[in-house]
Symmetry: D2
Subunit: 331 residues, 4 copies
């Protein structure tokens, strides 16, 4: 099969290599498309510590099941499915308390073992989720980021009847905005610097701003960060009304420090919440799509061939377009 191999940070090639064969509990998925996100940029740059090189990256993917391991039940060849990339140890303190996104032995297909920028990829059967037939296949790479946002929404709690500010209008911000709307928020505004992205938010944002500073201080009952930028985080926290809740989805640099006012945290009884990856949210994400609560049309870009891997990484790094996808049969 053809596969992108990243030999070491910055050095990648599309090569031919042996097709994977399924382990006892695994299935082989013929990849229809695999998305890229900021983690792919970090893996390419050597800034995602758990990654071993060489590796085939690609962790947001779907495709048809073409082979099934000996011990796999209830999953047949021919089925079209989305895959949850998460690999957990099952035995650490966090796995055993159901907080598997905090697993001490965390790994992920495409991040710590070979992934989906390839024609085929091997996946544990438990990571495979039947894709709702009537939905467009082009939406599949958005299931994984949507699952992250669903986890974030669970952390945030009910938004029914309240006003929400989303900061950052990339894929994560857009998914968060759509989910807030679908969960009963009665006002959802967006701060995003890029004009194109503000325009692409027309189907969910009430009002868009190009700068957090243009929104009123202390005026939102919930604020969601989808930037990871320190300036945006500091400004976002200051938008919280008394009793307000802040959800941090954005991933800041590991050594960056943001300032907040402990006096305001106390005085306004604020709540600041981090949310990390997915937790029991892959199936709910599929359900939301299945039942029509969230529409992804505005977030899908034209897929690129595997050969465009480096360009695709750069496109994501520049914040261009929305969900960038590589497809083995594209172009």
């Amino acid at each position: 099969m053809r596969a992108v191999v990243l030999y070491e940070p910055g050095r990648a090639e599309v090569i031919d290599r042996a097709d994977p064969v399924p382990g006892r509990g695994d299935v082989i998925v013929e990849v229809s498309g695999a998305g890229l996100c900021g983690t792919d940029v970090h893996i390419f740059e050597g800034l995602f510590p758990p990654t071993p090189y060489p590796i085939v990256p690609g962790h947001e993917f779907a495709g048809r099941v073409v082979a099934v391991g000996a011990e796999v039940d209830g999953l047949d060849e021919g089925e079209f499915a989305a895959a949850d990339c998460t690999l957990t140890c099952g035995r650490c303190r966090y796995c055993r308390s159901g907080r598997y996104n905090l697993c001490l032995g965390w790994g992920a297909i495409g991040d710590t073992v070979d992934g989906a920028f390839a024609e085929y990829v091997s996946v544990p059967a438990v990571n495979v989720f039947r894709w709702p037939e009537h939905l467009p296949e082009s939406w599949t790479p958005l299931t994984e980021p949507l699952a992250c946002v669903v986890r974030g929404a669970e952390r945030l709690g009910s938004v029914a009847g309240i006003s929400v500010l989303v900061v950052g209008g990339g894929v994560i911000g857009a998914l968060a905005g759509k989910l807030m709307r679908a969960s009963g928020a009665t006002r959802v505004d967006l701060c995003e610097r890029g004009e194109v992205r503000r325009t692409r938010a027309a189907d969910w944002a009430d009002t868009t701003f190009d700068d957090v500073a243009r929104t009123d201080e202390a005026s939102y009952e919930a604020v969601v960060d989808a930037t990871g930028s320190i300036a945006a985080i500091e400004a976002g926290i200051a938008r919280l009304a008394p009793g307000g809740r802040y959800l941090l989805l954005g991933v800041a640099p590991a050594d960056a420090v943001a300032g907040f006012s402990p006096y305001e945290l106390f005085k306004r009884e604020l709540t600041l919440l981090g949310s990390m990856s997915k937790r029991y949210s892959f199936q709910p994400a599929l359900d939301l799509l299945h039942r029509g609560a969230i529409d992804l049309h505005s977030l899908v870009d034209q897929p690129l061939p595997l050969e465009s891997y480096v360009d695709a990484v750069e496109r994501v790094a520049r914040g261009e377009g929305m969900k960038t996808v590589l497809a083995p049969d594209a172009g």
Copy 2:
């Protein structure tokens, strides 16, 4: 002023009596309209124990503030406002824990003191809420029942992404259905016997049934009862899928007993929740209306004159129409 006086159960008259004058902390509201609900039927029949007779009934109301007590701040004559009828002692164990709907000294304007089936009514200033200008005045009598449903929804918890069955398609069922939709439920079905009411649910129900028995057992993640009927309650509980949550809004007779399977409660880890009146939900109800999350057009009937009080009570008892309203200047 003209007022409906219910001298004793079953004996009412519209008479002329002195206009109320505001106590120090009260305002006088010129009633624009006041709704009826099942409680009004009970009060008419002498089946609502806390009611003293004679009384002017009418507890779901709004109107213009025409006089303001000496110690009232920040509320001016001329303002149009909806009123929360609830009167609490402020000092019992429940009031002091914020559970004021469980107040040991509970009372209500129109239920335990003179109410709004009259041209004017006296209301404590703290019970008066500014009505959002751009909303139709005809919606005002629905604020109170919506506030009850908002409390119920708080009891139920998040419905984002789940399927809900509403049993009973009167005003309460319809408000519950609309609120579930606006809170992100991805499927909301209705069971209601009356064909007219099933039709009036077209703007919120996915599927309607004329009998709970026609829905699948163990298939809804949440079920809301808005009937108070024992048969409907028993059937409704049996619709809960594993992990399901049941919200009882309906008021059953005080001595009626419903059967449930403790084995299923255990095995499916069900949750059964009662919800009683409003709790901090009057303003949220107004906010939901204000922000456009809930539209009440389909629930409003033509107001009737005060003289139609007995007819109106009977109409409600028969389950006719949706929100029945008396307006001093109707007809």
Copy 3:
């Protein structure tokens, strides 16, 4: 090895059979002791539908790891461990939402595959939990029931500062009472018919009653059923004060019906909660023991030899003693 084999309901024998060998992901545990509970009575009587016969029963157990499968990491021979008997499919809707106790493919060591009334038992490595060294080995069979009670307590929510009535003073009731105490309940009373058991509750119960009817109606903020008896459940619900929460741990017969007053559920805003087995609560149960929050001395009985299996089942059925345990090396 020697093992109890239950050939069919009611017909058991201790026989010699081949020692188990570990599957790739399994370990072999040399059983130090295995407890019995009501489920063992049902399995013996043929009333636990998922059980296939012949089977080696025994699902509450611990022991030393004596062999380790080829793919097992981080678990060594010689380690003393308690085992969680739960086997789940990992792929059903419930597993994937973290509600694995509701798994559609649920199974358990000792209930649906061979268990621990034997010298050795095979266990998936992920089901094995290191036993805190300084704790008495005699407590090990109580970890599983404690984990069930911890799940129940999670369902119930905070009991800090409130009054709780526990109905039923067997092992489950006693564990629930001890946990309520350790979680800050400021009053914990017990209803239990058996005098011996009331006496054994001296280390945790404030007041004991021999009949629910002797406690005040509507006077407890939380009630926990640990009987499964319909009469006790009905009486228990009636003890709830306004705003009260009811936790059903007891397992009633599958076709039994209990009556409750929907009017009171509404009027007092009650909450009724079922709790089914364990969910992420095995490790927390061990932690509570490890940290000294719960002491099990009063619940441990003298272990019996495997040959006493039928007597032990009958002892449990009669509600005699507290935790009945079979140990291969006993007596």
Copy 4:
């Protein structure tokens, strides 16, 4: 009566002035003792903006009811009671949503109107809570701070079975530590610089440290700040284990900024919670005392006469002793 009058920041005197007479809904309390806290230091220094001068300070108090307003029901002369100092508008968005501690018109007896460093003080009847007879009167001034800590604990959520670090061993830290213990935390450690205060924590702290830096990073499931110091807050947040929850009780200077790592907030899924004053927690605080869950002996100091007001303020500012109290009949 004799009363401390603070004419302007820094200038106080004990003078004779007319006894208060009760308004219609008020009672007069003969003060038995009134505590001081950091707010009293700020009021003395002119750093508590809502304070009007001259004022009689004193907001943590109790005493005997000696006169009762015309409209007060169910509260008799002679009763001994603790008072909640909080005065709210009842009509703002926050009051109406039950979040009265965030009231836009917030006031407090002793902070914004005359308080309890006097022989008598006027108090709205709804602010008066019957003191449990069998408890020592010397504990009364601790009810108010305990109510603040109970509110904080509600924000924090269940601590049953987890490890908690309390930072700051003054009255607030000690009350928080005792409450964590009584709520089932299985380990409660204290960081406090002062040796005397570390010693006085012997009845509740497992281990004490003189510096947060001496505790392990990322090792506590919950951390409670009771210092308001920026250094302590920054160090405290860094002690949170993955999934950990941080409760900020300490009041930092209004313009101070603390740094935190957004990456860790995300990666460890942390939760940071501010808690502001009391909310429905005065009665629960009394209940915890009444039922014996919390013992206050170790926190009570010898009361001082009114004439010691300035000394008492300085004592509090220096962090000396535990609860400093002024009593009209002391000395």
